[in-house]
Amino acid sequence: MSYPASYKYTKDHEWIELTGDRGKVGITDYAQQQLGDVVYIDLPDVGAKLKQGQSFGTIESVKAVSELYSPVTGEVVEVNSALKDKPETVNAEPHDSWMVVVKLTNPGEAAALLDAAQYQDLVK
């Protein structure tokens, strides 16, 4: 699976798709492969304040529990509740399975994230 060039990536294996001062956040194909079958996702509520690099939720596979780390600082303005009932979507379509939309406090923060080529180097 290729990593969309329009996304930015973290070393913790999240992606963010930025549109203006908002970003959709999900986990990468590499992350879902490492996790195995995803069976549970715990996401924050709309209005939650996120800090870059800090946990905003939990994702569990059959075997393991992992934290979700926010790529940026901001406020959750939308939550993909459908994923709670169909967490396996994250395995099938990791780069389309957004979890939250964050309104960035400081859009400049995203500049320090990895681009697709840098991320691909990280996980190869």
Partner: protein
């Protein structure tokens, strides 16, 4: 699970096969083992609906032989081995004098005075030392750690008889559950046992290590039509939990007694003395203060090994196993709770990442196959 990281990992005779087949490998009890091939959910459901193939060669084999072998086994094993005919196996425990578990095991009667004990991989040296010490005074009986002489391959699932039968002269359909026979599988000398750790019909096949890959490949080839797939330890764990089978190190250990683990049926109450007998008889007469239960989550969340269980405000027990099960599609688990809270439908809380999450006691097993 705590893993020793300094010693090099041991490899089963099928290690190269697993790596060549793209299995994801992890350290487990000192072994380099496949945790999954195609995915835990897919492998789990293959075993429930068709069949799956497991390398369980990491398990230990300890043989006890000699004129007094039966007396030796009777001393160290909680179950009553005198009930075993030659060709029959039983589930049992190696108990401490306190009635807690050194290990759990299967006891096979190979001959009137020759037994094979199959023990957990992580416990082989400990078990062997314990057994050798405990039977020293019994008389004419010797224990041998024969683990390196066996590879062990498990074919589990409703299609197991149909897949294995073309490869062996052993009459599988007439073999009863927990019986075994010697013969050949894929022209390799083998002992075939109708046992397993999945709650499904199936067989465990003991073969010489140098022939393990041949047998493995032959079974997969024979299982092609039935879509038999190789499976890892991840699915083995979710399958055994769905079937409510205890896992040493999670659900039972040297702090839990056979009665607390609700395994009174593997204690030979009518036997003469055996290690742990007096403690267990005393506990049986006086009653246990806590007991293992099966539970389902009522609230959203997955309880895992080691999470605390609460009744009201009091930290009342601990979760010993828990997962989201692929076949039943529920979050289930096992926990120790005070006896007065172990009746089915009793509700309690599990603390999941700081949050009290409601669970309900349910009868075990969670899954029972149709006969």
């Amino acid at each position: 699970m705590v893993q020793a990281t300094d010693a090099p990992l041991k490899k089963t005779p099928l290690n190269a096969r697993h790596r060549a087949s793209g299995a994801r490998m992890v350290p487990f009890s000192g072994w380099d083992m496949p945790v999954e091939y195609s995915g835990i959910v897919q492998e789990h459901n293959a075993v429930r609906t068709r069949a799956g193939l497991f390398d369980v060669s990491h398990m230990g084999e300890i043989e006890i032989a000699g004129k007094d072998a039966l007396a030796a086994v009777q001393r160290i094993s909680s179950n009553d081995a005198s009930k075993l005919a030659v060709g029959q196996a039983q589930y049992s425990g190696l108990m401490t004098p306190q009635g807690t578990f050194v290990d759990d095991l299967l006891v096979y009667r190979l001959a009137p005075s020759h037994f094979l004990l199959v023990v957990n991989a992580g416990n082989i040296p400990k078990d062997y030392a314990w057994i050798a010490e405990q039977i020293a005074s019994v008389g004419d009986a010797v224990a041998v750690d024969a683990s390196s002489r066996y590879a062990l391959i498990a074919l589990q699932g409703p299609a197991a008889v149909d897949v294995l039968q073309p490869l062996t002269g052993v009459d599988l359909a007439s073999m009863k559950y927990y019986w075994f026979a010697h013969g050949e599988v894929a022209n390799v000398r083998a002992t075939v046992s109708r046992t397993g750790y999945t709650g499904e019909d199936g067989f465990e096949v003991f073969v010489p290590p140098q022939s393990a890959d041949r047998v493995w490949q032959a079974i997969l080839e024979s299982g092609k039509v039935a879509e038999v797939i190789p499976c890892g330890l991840g699915a083995r764990d979710t399958l055994r939990l769905e079937a409510s089978m205890r896992l040493y190190g999670n659900d039972i250990d040297d702090t839990t007694t056979a009665l607390e683990a609700d395994l009174g049926w593997i204690v030979g109450w009518k036997k003469d003395d055996f290690i742990g007998a007096s403690a267990l008889r005393e506990q049986k007469a006086g009653g246990v203060a806590r007991k293992i239960v099966g539970f389902e989550m009522v609230d959203r969340g997955i309880a895992r090994h080691g999470y605390d269980a609460f009744v009201g405000d009091s930290n009342a027990g601990v979760v010993t196993s828990g997962t989201q099960t692929p076949f039943l599609k529920k979050a289930i688990g096992m926990a120790y709770l005070p006896l007065e809270h172990t009746a089915p439908n009793t509700e309690f809380d599990v603390e999941i990442r700081g949050k009290r999450t409601r669970a309900r006691v349910v009868p075990m097993p969670f899954y029972k196959r149709a006969k």
